[in-house]
């Protein structure tokens, strides 16, 4: 019935972020209580806690936010989201920030985008993903050195028939690709 105004005097970046996050309007209500930063399993490693990030978004500090490591610490455990007293969809906002960071080439000192790309690469080719390809391709291109550390583990996995060497392909790959193509058109490929 009654719609709350989201435009008004918000910072440009603020509007941008909630634009990109379903339910993001709640961000306007952040109390700066820090229950998010306190809840995060990786909270200790963050250079800015989510709460701080929100304050920075409000202050329109675009660059600082997008170059922060905060969202890359997020493991989508949703503790912050369920605990937030203002019901801000924090995890989703982290996704939104990740998307922006990647799109605008901020995310350089993390391997997450690479992993993501490799992963979705498979999905778009086969319709499904599979660990071996994922691991091998991802590590080969991104952290060849640490590959060796993985060998014993890989082997034991292999030994237990837990590593398939070829992926399963879905029948309707074409259909899926069409959907993805369309979605990218509408959503503006990021």
């Amino acid at each position: 019935m009654i719609t709350h105004s989201t435009d008004s005097h918000r910072s440009a970046f603020f509007s941008e972020v909630i634009e990109d996050t379903p339910g993001g309007e709640q961000l306007a209500h952040c109390l700066q209580c820090g229950s998010c930063g306190g809840s995060c399993p990786n909270g200790a490693d963050m250079q800015y806690t989510p709460r701080t990030i929100f304050a920075m978004i409000n202050a329109n500090r675009r660059e600082d936010v997008l170059s922060a490591n905060t969202m890359w610490c997020c493991v989508s455990c949703y503790f912050c989201t369920t605990r937030c007293p203002q019901q801000i969809p924090i995890t989703e906002i982290m996704y939104a920030l990740k998307r922006k960071a990647i799109a605008e080439g901020f995310a350089n000192d993390t391997d997450a985008p690479a992993l993501a790309k490799t992963f979705t690469g498979f999905v778009e080719d086969y319709g499904r993903s599979f660990e071996f390809g994922l691991a091998s391709r991802y590590y080969f291109f991104n952290k060849p050195l640490s590959m060796f550390k993985l060998v014993p583990m890989g082997l034991s996995m292999l030994a237990r028939g837990r590593m398939h060497l070829k992926p399963n392909k879905i029948r309707q790959v074409a259909q899926l690709q069409a959907i993805i193509k369309k979605a990218k058109e509408i959503g503006g490929a990021q």
């Binding site: 990786n42 493991v75 455990c77 369920t82 969809p89 992963f119 499904r128 993903s129 583990m153 959503g187």
Partner: protein
């Protein structure tokens, strides 16, 4: 009872053990899982970091290809469960998402009305639809003597499971108490296993894994029960390296809850793919249960 079944990629590769045990348990408990025809990957958390609409559309395809009569979709994998449920909810609560996703689906000749398919997690199904009475009746082998640490992880219970507490879930605890196991009530049962951090920043991931293993050990658990392939992989496959990293020595088997449930239902390890895990669980279960049996007969 008949449900549409969405195994998800891990269950057909790395975590086949989960898939095998799920199907075995389904047979034993007498409910039917019909694999969703030509399902595609849910994109885990990876699509959301790139393009929200693509992410939701890719997921929505799976909901859209459900037949009219497939109104309940069961996903054992946490990430799949959350993604499917989340997408359905997003479409239901945000009309623009609904429109855009359907526009995308239309490109593949598909359409989905939010709410048509009810996304369920396997645990919910077994706990609610099968229920205590039936389980007790079907259970042929008591799990007495076995100290199990139910591990829920994150994405089944949060942000929206609709069947258990998001902070301190109890359903798996109850389920295995029914089956006679000693359930250890340890504080971190719904904390994070590190997720894909194992791939990105091992130090971060190892710390998280350590917390879980430590706590379980502190509470003298014989094994940890998982309901998510990623959790199982991290706790099991990385256990050795985590041990070295903090120079400790864990020997804590990590299996899927359906595997132990199967044991209680009288299925043998083969049928349940027990032995696929890296830290072997078979011997532990054997030892504890027979010890108990011996104690009982003596």
């Amino acid at each position: 009872m008949k449900y549409a079944y969405y195994p998800g990629c891990s269950l057909e590769s790395g975590s086949a053990a989960y898939d095998v045990s799920v199907r075995a348990v389904a047979d034993a408990l007498g409910f039917e899982l019909e694999e969703l025809d030509d399902w595609n990957c849910c994109g885990a958390t990876e699509y959301f970091t790139q393009n929200e609409l693509v992410a939701t559309s890719v997921i929505a395809r799976n909901l859209a290809i459900c037949r009219e009569d497939q109104t309940q979709l069961v996903a054992p994998c946490a990430a799949c469960f959350l993604n499917l449920k989340k997408t359905d909810q997003l479409m239901a609560t945000h009309s623009h998402v609904k429109c855009q996703v359907n526009e995308a689906l239309a490109a593949g000749g598909l359409h989905y009305d939010p709410g048509r398919v009810k996304v369920r997690h396997l645990l919910d199904l077994i706990y609610t639809d099968i229920g205590e009475a039936k389980l007790r009746q079907k259970a042929v082998k008591s799990l007495k003597g076995l100290r199990v640490a139910p591990y829920y992880g994150c994405q089944v219970v949060r942000p929206m499971n609709g069947f258990d507490n998001t902070e301190y879930p109890m359903k798996m605890d109850e389920l295995f108490t029914w089956l006679g196991a000693e359930v250890v009530d340890y504080p971190v049962k719904a904390h994070c296993c590190g997720g894909h951090m194992t791939q990105i920043s091992e130090d971060a991931a190892f710390e998280l894994i350590r917390r879980l293993l430590d706590s379980a050990v502190e509470y003298q658990a014989d094994l940890i029960l998982c309901m998510c392939p990623m959790c199982q992989l991290n706790l099991d496959a990385y256990q050795g390296r985590v041990a070295n990293h903090f120079n400790k020595n864990y020997q804590l088997p990590i299996i899927f809850f359906t595997q132990l449930l199967g044991v209680a239902l009288g299925l043998d390890f083969q049928q349940l793919a027990i032995g696929k895990e890296i830290v072997p669980a078979g011997p532990v279960i054997q030892a504890k249960l027979s010890a108990q049996a011996a104690g009982a007969s003596a």
